[in-house]
């Protein structure tokens, strides 16, 4: 067995372990988990039996097994970039709405500040009278 095969097997196993760990604590969506799981298993299988990648690539009309991996990786990376982008945009919208609501709930004017001070002073004098 070549060194690269051993590295790929370890990489596949680590990938499966990490994604499973994140999935179990609900930090990963089911679809993403399944995609990573599939990639991990494929890495292990094709490292142990390199001829599998050749059979698979021939099935889809690609000559070399490594080319098939490159194409699949590009598709997966694109999917991840788009889903991360959508998530960031959704979070940004929620965050903006929160900041805006806070601003709308707390308008400030100089008079408003003065009136607050007046109320405080009134309360203080009332308390003094009570004493």
């Amino acid at each position: 067995m070549e060194l690269i095969q051993i590295i790929l097997i370890i990489a596949g196993a680590v990938l499966i372990y990490i994604t499973r760990k994140f999935y179990l604590i609900n930090k990963l969506k089911r679809e993403t988990y399944l995609i990573f799981l599939l990639i991990g298993f494929m890495l292990i299988i094709t490292s142990v039996f390199p001829q599998v990648s050749v059979i698979l690539s021939n099935l889809v009309g690609i000559n070399r097994g490594t080319d098939l991996f490159v194409y699949i990786s590009i598709i997966v990376i694109f999917y991840l970039i788009i889903s991360i982008n959508i998530r960031i945009e959704t979070l940004e919208q929620k965050f903006s709405a929160l900041i805006e609501q806070l601003a709308l709930n707390n308008p400030e004017t100089k008079n408003h500040d003065n009136s607050k001070k007046k109320i405080k002073r009134k309360q203080e004098t009332e308390n003094k009278h009570r004493k």
Binding site: S96, I99, E100, A103, L104, P107, E108, T109, K110
Partner: protein, 250 residues
């Protein structure tokens, strides 16, 4: 547009035939980010021109913008973190609508716009000629003092781009000096937090079939405003933003 909607459009702005500027609640919305050096003069100028409902949206400023705005009798809404001009205007417009604004004017906090030209801008709205008026520095009678030539080229390209994308014929695109009737302000939805909101507003005018009119205005540039203003290369980002949204929305 149905009859009720048409009726609302008029009722919101002209309460009777003889409505004047004094009868209307005019709100000035200023988005401000670290404007302590300029905002005071801008607010004084607005007060001098008898505008009372001035809303400064302090967009996460780290300087004394808020303090100076309060000292100059403005109502201040504070964004705890900097979101961008689009978000600041959205907050200011929402507040103005909630407090019964008939006309909302968006105004820059860096002294580029002239308070004395507001009356010119709101005139077509009062006269029922338009729902939205857009200030234009390139229209005959308008002026762009000290504008750098690179900025001028970018703005002209922006006009060309907007004409194609939004299908709206304007002579100036990224001009923050504009007035909205209550009807228009309720219709226009700003979703971009950043500077792309300017193109989005034009898009919304076209989408909602609002009546608009361009009014020549003077924009004054100085070293500070140029330094603080939009960077030319960002124009590409705004264009891409609009283009992306157009594709996604379709």
């Amino acid at each position: 547009m149905n009859l009720t909607e048409e009726k609302n459009r008029d009722l919101n702005i002209n309460k009777n035939e003889n409505t004047t500027k004094k009868d209307l609640k005019i709100f000035i919305v200023i988005a401000a980010y670290n404007e302590e050096k300029r905002i005071g003069t801008v607010l004084k100028e607005l007060t001098k021109n008898n505008y009372k409902n001035i809303i400064v949206v302090n967009d996460g400023s780290k300087d004394n913008t808020k303090k100076i705005a309060l000292e100059n009798k403005a109502t201040v809404l504070t964004h705890k973190v900097n979101l961008g001009q689009g978000a600041a205007l959205r907050t200011g417009i929402k507040y103005s609508l909630k407090h019964g604004a008939d006309i909302i004017v968006t105004f820059d906090g860096d002294g580029q716009h002239k308070a004395s030209e507001i009356h010119k801008l709101i005139h077509p709205i009062i006269n029922k000629e338009a729902d939205v008026t857009l200030g234009s520095r390139f229209l005959e009678g308008g002026n762009a003092n000290n504008i750098p030539s690179s900025r001028k080229i970018i703005l002209k390209l922006g006009v060309l781009f907007t004409r194609t994308i939004s299908r709206i014929k304007v002579t100036d695109t990224h001009n923050g000096f504009r007035a909205l009737s209550r009807y228009a302000a309720e219709k226009i939805k700003i979703t971009y937090n950043g500077m792309s909101h300017a193109s989005e507003i034009l898009d919304e005018i076209s989408r909602n079939k609002l009546r608009f009119k361009e009014v020549p205005v003077t924009i004054t540039y100085n070293e500070e405003t140029i330094k603080k203003g939009q960077k030319n290369f960002k124009a590409i980002k705004y264009a891409l933003d609009m283009f992306y949204r157009k594709i996604v929305n379709k």
